[in-house]
């Protein structure tokens, strides 16, 4: 039994697991069937072949399909930069504040009411004032991302610090830990798995607010591509940009998980 489990986990590491691709393949098939049977008009949903060519051209520029030929790297880099900036900002502020709130009653009383009131404003509600303050462009987008990603990161860091087992605190104290030691050597490592959950949530939200920020009319970025293409009735490229975000979002999550796995202790109970 143990052997079977072990051999399965080893082999699944080597061979690609095909099960996750069944659903996308089925959706693609349905899409192709509908398109080539002429059941959906092209201006609503172009055929998959057309979209595939547009995608290839968007990335490589080999087909010279139109204004977006070969611009993927430029737009993707602009978007990635905004997500990276906004998410880093949210992390740098959210994790320490959250941990502090979780382990100090005074900090909680100072911060919690304000943070949770501000949290009640939906992220979109910040768009007008952000445009007034930062104009149109990267600063507004980064601001929106940082703001939206801050909350799950903060809340989870606080939760992680708050749910540290009291027994670990006592154990550290009787072993001679100072208050600073407690924070660095007990609260932070004990809270880390929960902090990691918050970071993953925050990164997901970052991509959502990236698109919101870029819809306001910036010259580059995948959200901008989508919005401009809509004006031109260039539906293929809207779909391609959406697909790009899906792929980039998933890849960034995988990268974050890989990073966190290196950071987390190997055998956390």
């Amino acid at each position: 039994m143990a052997d079977r489990i072990a051999s399965r986990s080893v082999s699944s590491r080597r061979r690609l697991d095909w099960l996750p691709f069944v659903l996308p393949a089925a959706v693609g098939l349905a899409w192709a069937t509908l398109s080539y049977a002429g059941r959906v008009p092209e201006y609503l949903l172009p055929a998959p072949g057309q979209v595939a060519v547009t995608a290839a051209d968007f990335v490589t520029g080999l087909w010279h399909c139109g204004p977006y030929s070969g611009t993927f790297i430029r737009h993707a880099l602009a978007s990635i930069e905004r997500v990276a900036l906004g998410f880093s900002l949210a992390t740098v502020v959210g994790v320490p504040l959250g941990l502090l709130t979780g382990c100090s009653d005074a900090a909680r009383r100072v911060l919690d009411l304000t943070v949770h009131s501000v949290r009640a404003i939906p992220g979109i509600g910040w768009l007008p004032i952000a445009m007034v303050w930062f104009g149109i462009g990267t600063p507004t987008t980064v601001f929106l991302i940082a703001l939206a990603a801050f909350f799950p990161i903060y809340v989870n860091a606080a939760l992680g610090a708050r749910s540290v087992r009291p027994l670990w605190i006592r154990a550290a104290q009787m072993l001679g830990a100072s208050r600073r030691d407690l924070f660095v050597t007990v609260i932070i490592p004990a809270a880390l798995p929960t902090v990691a959950d918050g970071l993953r949530l925050g990164l997901g939200i970052s991509w959502a607010y990236l698109v919101l920020g870029e819809l306001t009319g910036v010259p580059d970025g995948l959200g901008a591509v989508m919005m401009d293409a809509r004006m031109m009735g260039y539906v293929q490229i809207i779909l391609v940009a959406m697909l790009s975000i899906a792929i980039l979002g998933r890849l960034s999550d995988l990268a974050l998980m890989a990073l966190l796995r290196r950071l987390l202790p190997p055998r956390f109970a």
């Binding site: 087992r165 006592r170 154990a171 104290q173 009787m174 072993l175 030691d181 050597t185």
Partner: protein, 272 residues
Amino acid sequence: MDTGTIQSCHIVIDKVGKYFANENGGLWALRDLSLCVRRGEFLCVVGPSGCGKTTLLSLVAGFDTPTEGQVYCSGQPVTGPGPDRGVIFQEDALFPWLSVAGNVCYALHRRGIPRRQATQQAMHFLELVGLQEFAAYFPGQLSGGMKQRAALARVLANRPQALLMDEPFGALDALSRMEMQQLLLTIWRELAPTILFVTHDVDEAIFLADRVYVMTARPGRICRQLQVPLPRPRTAEVLTSQGLMDIKHEVLNLLLEANAQAHSRQRIVNPL
């Protein structure tokens, strides 16, 4: 307690009371409890579950402060936890994010002992508890008995003057428990710490201790102390010896009597 006793004993608990407020009004977990532990002595407190043993150890460890009375350690009032009093908890309290060796090194790092030296010392104490092959393991990979061995090594590496042990072997099977008791006696003989050991297990208390205090519940107080004149070193045969049986008989009678009294008191207070 007079100042002479406070100065001469390692740990002195002087007319201590501990009150817990709760939604039903609160209760005295301990009341008017006094005892003293001499330096180098192995002292057991035996009492039923809920009689306040964990509360008592928390006060000595300095995790909590008494409502009444005072706890002294080496003649000084206890004001907080400190590395001179190592605690072995009832539940697993190892840090799951550190390896076994990392756990044992924890206190050594806090004292600024260099990494190499700390690791060397940790290995020494892991050997002492028979866990040297598991240094790189994480607590989640250990059995209950091994966890308590690691906990013991972690505390011993700090060279505490006193060990406070809260039913440390209560969750183990009978065989592991006996092994751990033997190990503890060996360590006590070699390192000569003062040990304050609380348990609900009468056999365990008598087998280990020089002296046994019998504790009763609601409020937790000491009702009797007994010398254990059994010869050392104590082996498994002691567990079935007539000497142990005699003392056990006496302790059980005390506990049953106290229990019966508590019930009759309850009946008067509460006619239902």
